[in-house]
């Protein structure tokens, strides 16, 4: 680990000024991602600004019926909050399906959103990686790609965003509240992370020195919702594919009709992937196995899997259909596999 200066921030504005003023400074929250990267040599800051004593630890009700969650609320505390469990079960489940009990006790809401990819080449400084070192090349393309993207990737980077929590936040239309040198701004969580394009080193739209102070959830919306994660182990592993979904079905008429659906996918793209094409198919349709399949296919039409992750297209299709069937109580009728499963 390279030597670095250490400072403990007393207040949010001070933390922002300190980091803004030094290009080589970083914020330290729970440290479960950053300290790992310090050890690996993936991050080599000159100054670490510890934000653990900032008073960003409240979960507060908003006037409009929504919820404001401080950036330093620990993942385990957010998941245990009675309002989140009751009104946003999808978020509680996503939080609880991430990492382990110990890690969730340390991990914060802000840090979880800004955790970096788990692409093994990104974490291995002996291999070329455009995200670590712009222009170096991408070791994943043509390499081991089981955990890589099938949607929205570029020729420069095929990494996925690893957060579970962020997927639920994308489906919930959460807002990220950010404090910068020139004041506060609010960013829809679906617009926080970038697709890689030709600048994969830039994970988000945040400027250097901008501090996430809170996440805001809109008032709870009607319908059944949950989060489902598919992984290589029963627990304590990153998602191969995950789905956060909410469906609101109108059962007043002769045939039930989907009023509204919100779906976001994890493990498939460089950012939490809001499945707007699937949502458009579902809106106004009758909830049937055929509808769900058509919705999944509409979203996955754009999929461009790699040699090592072709199985994920079918896996995502299955995950979407199964979850929608569960949430609406419709018996599922999954199609036969149309793609070749790759088991490595």
């Amino acid at each position: 680990m390279n030597p670095f200066d250490y400072e403990r921030a007393a207040d949010a504005a001070g933390a922002v000024t300190t980091v803004t003023d030094r290009p080589d400074a970083v914020f330290l929250a729970g440290g479960t991602n950053l300290v790992d990267h310090l050890k690996l040599g993936v991050a080599e800051p000159g100054l670490v600004v510890d934000i653990n004593r900032l008073e960003l630890t409240e979960v507060e009700a908003l006037d409009d019926g929504g919820l404001r969650i401080g950036a330093m609320v620990r993942n385990s505390d957010a998941a245990a909050d009675p309002r989140i469990r009751r009104d946003y079960p999808m978020l509680a489940r996503a939080l609880l399906s991430g990492a382990s009990g110990q890690l969730r006790n340390a991990a914060t809401m802000g840090g979880n959103l800004l955790q970096r990819t788990r692409c093994v080449y990104f974490q291995d400084t002996s291999t070329p990686c455009n995200k670590r070192e712009p222009g170096a090349g991408c070791s994943a393309i043509g390499g081991y790609t089981r955990y890589h993207a099938i949607l929205g990737a570029s020729a420069d980077c095929v990494a996925t965003h690893p957060s579970d929590m962020a997927v639920a936040l994308a489906a919930l239309d959460a807002t990220v509240v950010v404090l910068g040198a020139t004041g506060e701004r609010r960013i829809p969580v679906t617009e926080l992370h970038r697709l890689p394009g030709d600048r994969p080193e830039q994970d988000t739209v945040l400027e250097h020195g901008e501090l996430i102070t809170a996440l805001e959830l809109p008032p709870p919306r009607p319908g059944a919702s949950t989060y489902r994660k598919i992984r290589d182990r029963a627990s304590y592993a990153f998602a191969l594919v995950s789905v956060a979904a909410r469906v609101d079905v109108d059962t007043a008429g002769r045939a039930p009709v989907i009023r509204e659906a919100a779906i976001a996918l994890g493990g498939v793209a460089h950012k939490p992937w809001r499945a707007r094409a699937a949502e458009a198919v579902l809106r106004g349709a009758e909830p049937t196995a055929e509808t769900f399949l058509a919705a999944a296919d509409a979203e996955l039409e754009a999929a461009e899997p790699l040699d090592g992750n072709r199985f994920k297209v079918q896996m995502t299709r299955g995950a979407i259909c199964t979850l929608l069937a569960e949430l609406t109580g419709v018996p599922e009728a999954l199609p036969e596999s149309t793609t070749e499963d790759t088991h490595e």
Binding site: D5, Y6, R8, T32, R85, P89, Q102, A106, Y236
Partner: protein, 170 residues
């Protein structure tokens, strides 16, 4: 650069000067000689370094010591003050819940933390009713202990595999 750090570890107070890079785990083991917390992976993946910090279980290998200035740290040693074994320690003994024992201090701390979390009604991902009371079924315990990996856990299976290979190559 040296920074002053104050920690209470297993009931004992310490003041020491550490480099900014020192993790809580390294401060415990290399500076204070508290060997109960183990270093396994050093990357948050195995749970061997689990300790209780102000009553909550954490991976001490991913925590900078300075972040926890002033904290109360409890290791598996401290959970057995003056060698008086806790219920948890005794249960581990009674059920032979270890082979080499390397992961055991972390398992014990994690179990202590987990039992407190469950007593607080904190849900896990396998809790069916997120709002209901938590009942510690076997599935719940497995899920809640999943951050602690035991490399001896597959012991019997490894023996069986080696035996099979030996038989097949005879």
């Amino acid at each position: 650069m040296g920074h002053s750090l104050h920690l209470t570890v297993d009931g004992q107070e310490h003041t020491l000067v550490v480099d900014s890079r020192t993790t809580l785990l390294d401060a415990l083991r290399d500076r204070l000689g508290v060997m109960s917390a183990k270093k396994g992976c050093d990357h948050g993946q195995c749970g061997a370094c689990t300790v209780l910090v102000d009553g909550r279980r954490l991976n001490s290998c991913l925590a900078l010591a300075l972040t926890h200035d002033g904290a109360e740290v409890m290791t598996a040693d401290g959970l057995a003050p003056e060698g008086e074994l806790s219920t948890l320690h005794r249960a581990f003994l009674a059920h032979d819940a270890f082979q080499c024992g390397y992961c055991t201090p972390g398992q014990v701390c994690s179990a202590a933390g987990m039992l407190a979390e469950a007593a607080d009604n904190a849900p896990s991902v396998v809790t069916e009713d997120l709002e209901g009371p938590v009942e510690l079924s076997e599935e719940e315990i497995r899920e809640r202990m999943s951050g602690n990996l035991c490399r001896c856990g597959a012991y019997v299976n490894i023996v069986a595999a080696v035996r099979r290979a030996a038989e097949e190559s005879r």
